[in-house]
């Protein structure tokens, strides 16, 4: 297209009146000149003018031709189509309304998933140039992933041109005003690098490393300030307690910045405060603990690969002299532009959810396509007439697609509103159904829809409109002019084929969704019923800081509410147990076994049965050879076919200088003797089941880093609250976390419940759409075959025969759909089962239940309109022709 062409068309588009006027004036001038010529030749003025007009021909036709050159035809035609479509909707408001509602619902659901995806993956953090921010991690030669030590950090920081900035932090969790809170202990350049401004006071600066006015400083997040301190405008300068230590608030971060992670942060303290949160965390210890997460800003014109290579070479120099296996082999840069990096992994997490919701949208589109098709067939006469009057098929298709687009526009508004509502209701419902003790730990990033969501909604609506508008309009305009002029508007067979395909697709999708819902429901039920083997109902776990440990233990032992107190290094059901390399006496092979350090009353508090030997006795604490109790599975694995009792094991220290978690508390357990076998219990997550090999090592109840487990009397929830208040009074800041063990169990089952509710709602919605689809098709078939059925009845067919005739097709559809849906569900079940241990690969009950549900619903939906067929009166029907 030429530039002059574009300019002229645009001018004509935006100043149509001027272009039109100029054209008239130009033609008028021509006629006038011609008239003057005739006048000069001797004609009288009046005649001259009439002659000139006659010579010119049809003025309007010339104008029309000239207009065609300007190319405004399409615009005018669209306007015409829109007007025509609006008139059509006014004649069939129910049709228009049900299309808008169906599509709006589908778009709304899809848009709500996209809103979440957008908030976690697409929307960049509100900091300076978020796309150049990266988290760093490195992998050693045996494939272990590491963070960084303080020494690594200072090496990487020194003349490193790959990064414009490099900050370090360590994430800590504690309680702030009695409610769980997350924070980061950060280096002084953290905020400078991110370019985050304060809403009040100031952010942390490099000088904050040392104590200020004798007390360390803290910066609060905007929402922590609003929600936990009531937005106190005098907050700056106030002292607050964290873990019993006072901090001076120096500032509040501006709204919109809550850290660079999935879990929003509530506060930031200088990195030097880390030992106050994790007492064993000594950054400058000779063992060089790898406690630092690094956050870097890539220098301009530096690629990820360049930065990773530069970091790797620095890490290798830094690690010189260490054993080969713990040398850096690889450095990862993970984008920190959004809560979840825009990586394949993030996309894969969202794919199944997105697919499930998109399927519902597809169903909605299929339903609307069906309605459009029915409407198109009903309008055959109108279309035929227009075709006969000279409209091209392309023109008719454009007309019908315009109608679809017009219906999609209000659906966008509706869908946007539904997404907004669904997210609000969903979040509220989640917090309402969460086990109350878990609620403070669940944090979401802000989920409000933005321009990107709106754009997505428009895009989806546009694509849907093409789908539900184009296919039926191509189908229904397949009329030949000859047929149309002859008045033969009978439908061909192919639209029926399209309708059938749509119904089968609908049955397929609803079968798939309902079977998956059933599988998840049964899994949630199974997990809820799982015998975890330990007492959880009235056990309260208490995490405390080391300096108050003795006081807390004494208080717990005194408390009338507490029956027995035990201690464990790792809380069962909450975290993964660490592993240690074990060598059996008389055998040189090394086995990795999960272990937990527990006090002697651990088995008593959690009522874990002893299958052989004995549990720990008070004497074991002073014995020269430490005592060990192994789980049944561990016994079987370590000493197959032999009794483990009395055997000794050697716990291998890691090679000297190897970086990584070397639990110094294991030092005393060089050699240990097995004194008992404990029953298998669930120790980690519910899905992993109870058959894990575990080794229990005896430890003192007051040893560092342990949590207390208290068996309480009376109502456990009340006991927990009372204990919490009591401990806060006697030893302020000592308790960093207090939970009922029951909460962890509920927390394990909860995600399945959510997944079940989501897939069930989708499944039911899908089923409703399918019902409407089946109902529509059967009604249509009955309507179309009225004459045939009338003849059959007249010839003596029974009601049964007629029902069979009409229903057999629906049965065929239902069975095809259920079969395809079942096969797809089998695939989904396999994927689920491969990632969740306790889930069986094939859950017959779920498959049969889901399929029967769909089958029954389809039959029901088909039966209602097919009964109409049996009431056909042959005489009336036949007379109609």
């Amino acid at each position: 297209m030429k530039w002059s062409d574009v300019v002229l068309r645009v001018r004509a588009l935006f100043a149509p009146r001027r272009a039109e006027q100029e054209l008239s004036e130009e033609l008028e001038f021509h006629i006038e000149m011609q008239a003057r010529k005739h006048e000069a030749a001797g004609a009288d003025p009046h005649q001259a003018r009439a002659l000139a007009r006659r010579e010119f021909g049809n003025l309007d036709l010339v104008k029309e031709d000239a207009r065609d050159v300007r190319g405004l035809r399409p615009v005018e035609e669209i306007a015409q189509d829109v007007r025509y479509a609006l008139r059509a909707f006014r004649r069939a408001p129910t049709f228009a309304l049900s299309v808008v509602l169906t599509i709006g619902l589908g778009i709304g659901l899809t848009a709500s998933v996209f809103t979440i995806f957008n908030a976690y993956v697409l929307r960049p953090f509100d900091v300076r140039d978020p796309h150049s921010l990266y988290s760093l991690q490195w992998m050693d030669r045996v494939g272990r992933i590491h963070d960084f030590s303080l020494a690594d950090y200072s090496t990487l920081r020194r003349d490193n041109p790959a990064f414009a900035g490099l900050a370090a932090f360590h994430t800590v969790s504690t309680r702030l005003n009695g409610v769980a809170a997350n924070g980061d202990a950060v280096t002084g350049d953290f905020f400078g690098m991110l370019g985050v401004q304060p809403a009040l006071g100031r952010m942390l600066v490099p000088d904050d490393a040392g104590p200020v006015d004798g007390s360390p400083v803290i910066v609060l997040s905007h929402s922590a300030w609003r929600n936990r301190f009531g937005g106190d405008s005098n907050i700056v300068g106030r002292r607050i307690l964290l873990r019993g230590y006072p901090y001076q608030v120096v500032g509040v971060a501006r709204a919109g910045f809550e850290g660079l992670f999935k879990k929003p942060r509530d506060f930031w303290v200088p990195l030097g405060m880390l030992p106050r949160f994790e007492e064993s965390a000594d950054l400058s210890a000779p063992s060089r603990p790898e406690l630092l997460s690094l956050l870097g800003r890539l220098a301009p014109n530096t690629s990820e690969l360049q930065a990773a290579t530069a970091t790797l070479s620095k890490m290798q120099t830094q690690g010189a002299g260490r054993p080969d296996s713990s040398l850096a082999a690889h450095v990862f840069l993970i984008s920190r532009a959004s809560p979840l990096p825009r990586s394949l992994k993030s996309y894969l997490v969202f794919t199944p959810i997105a697919v499930a919701f998109a399927l519902v949208l597809l169903l909605a589109c299929a339903n609307v396509a069906n309605m459009m098709l029915a409407r198109g067939l009903a309008r055959q006469r109108e279309l035929g007439v227009r075709l006969a009057l000279g409209a091209s098929r392309a023109r008719l298709v454009r007309q019908l697609v315009t109608e679809s687009m017009l219906l999609a526009l209000p659906a966008v508004a509706l869908g946007f509103a539904i997404a907004w509502l669904a997210i609000g209701v969903g979040v509220r419902a989640m917090f309402a159904t969460l086990p109350a003790d878990l609620a403070p730990f669940v944090r979401l990033v802000p989920l409000q829809p933005d321009a990107r969501v709106l754009l997505f909604t428009f895009g989806t609506a546009f694509a849907s409109a093409l789908f539900f508008g184009l296919a039926p309009s191509l189908q229904t305009t397949k009329l030949s002019v000859v047929q149309a002029t002859r008045g033969n508007f009978g439908a061909e067979r192919s639209p029926t084929r399209l309708r059938n395909a749509l119904v089968v697709a609908q049955v397929t999708v609803s079968t798939l969704l309902l079977i998956v819902a059933a599988i998840l429901l049964r899994e949630a039920g199974r997990l809820g019923r799982t015998d975890i083997g330990i007492r959880t109902r009235d056990v309260v776990s208490i995490e405390t800081v080391d300096r108050s440990r003795a006081a807390v233990l004494a208080r717990l032992r005194q408390s009338a509410l507490v029956d027995v107190v035990a201690a464990a290094a790792t809380l069962p059901l909450d975290a993964h147990f660490p592993t240690v390399a074990v060598v059996r006496s008389g055998d040189s092979s090394v086995v990795d076994v999960a272990y937990n350090r527990v006090s002697s009353s651990y088995f008593d508090v959690l009522t874990i049965g002893i299958a052989g030997g004995r549990e720990f006795s008070p004497q074991d604490e002073h014995s020269a050879t430490p005592a060990v109790v192994v789980s049944e599975t561990a016994a079987r694995q370590l000493w197959p076919g032999a009794s483990p009792l009395g055997q000794t094991i050697h716990l291998q220290r890691r090679e000297a200088g190897v970086r990584g978690a070397d639990d110094s508390s294991l030092r005393q357990f060089q050699n240990a003797r097995v004194v008992g076998i404990a029953r298998n219990v669930v120790t980690q997550s519910l899905e992993n089941g109870s058959d894990r090999a575990v080794m229990y090592l005896l430890t003192n109840a007051d040893s560092s880093g342990c949590c207390f487990l208290a068996k309480v009397r009376g109502d456990p929830a009340l006991a927990k609250r009372t204990l919490d208040d009591d401990l806060e009074r006697t030893t302020p800041g000592a308790v960093s976390r207090i939970d009922r063990l029951e909460t962890f169990v509920a927390g394990g089952v909860y995600p399945y419940r959510v997944a079940y509710w989501v897939s069930l709602s989708l499944g039911i919605l899908a089923l409703c759409l399918t019902l409407a689809g089946v109902y529509g098709v059967v009604s249509y078939v009955v309507g179309q075959r009225t004459r045939e059925i009338g003849i059959r009845l007249a010839l003596g067919a029974t009601t049964r025969d007629v029902l069979k005739l009409v229903l057999s097709q629906s049965v065929r559809h239902a069975f095809s759909g259920i079969a395809i849906g079942g096969i797809l569900a089998m695939g989904v079940a396999r994927v689920l089962a491969s990632s969740i241990q306790s889930m069986p690969a094939f859950d017959l009950v779920a498959f049969v239940g889901g399929s029967l549900c769909v089958l029954a619903a389809c039959m029901g939906a088909a039966f209602v309109p097919s009964r109409a067929a049996t009431t056909i009166d042959p005489t009336t029907t036949l007379r109609q022709e």
């Binding site: 002059s4 062409d5 002229l8 010339v62």
Partner: protein
């Protein structure tokens, strides 16, 4: 005058319009008069196709238009040739010469 008027061959109108604009810019009526005059009244431009053709040529970028004052003092739209229009004219004139020569040869010799 007993000369028969001939309808223009398809496509030749564009060529003639471009040619009439070589010397000076003209308005629509002047263009049609000029063609009529130079062809000794044999070629008569159909008024109905003149203006769409002018607009089409303008969209092609071969001619431009501007409003000016006609010899009788009335506002009129004057068309003039652009550089690319000149090139187009050369090309079309060339083609036309070859075409008419070829037709002439066939008529003479066949």
């Amino acid at each position: 005058m007993t000369t028969t008027r001939l309808d223009l061959l398809q496509g030749t109108l564009d060529l003639l319009i471009l040619r009439t604009l070589v010397a000076e810019s003209r308005h629509g009526w002047a263009i049609s008069e000029r063609i009529q005059l130079l062809s000794r009244d044999v070629l008569r431009v159909n008024q109905g196709s003149l203006y769409p053709a002018l607009h089409r040529l303008e969209h092609q970028g071969w001619i431009t238009s501007e409003w000016g004052v006609s010899e009788l003092g009335r506002r009129a739209r004057f068309y003039s040739l652009t550089a690319s229009g000149r090139r187009q004219l050369d090309e079309e004139a060339e083609q036309w010469t070859r075409f008419s020569a070829a037709v002439g040869r066939v008529m003479r010799l066949a």
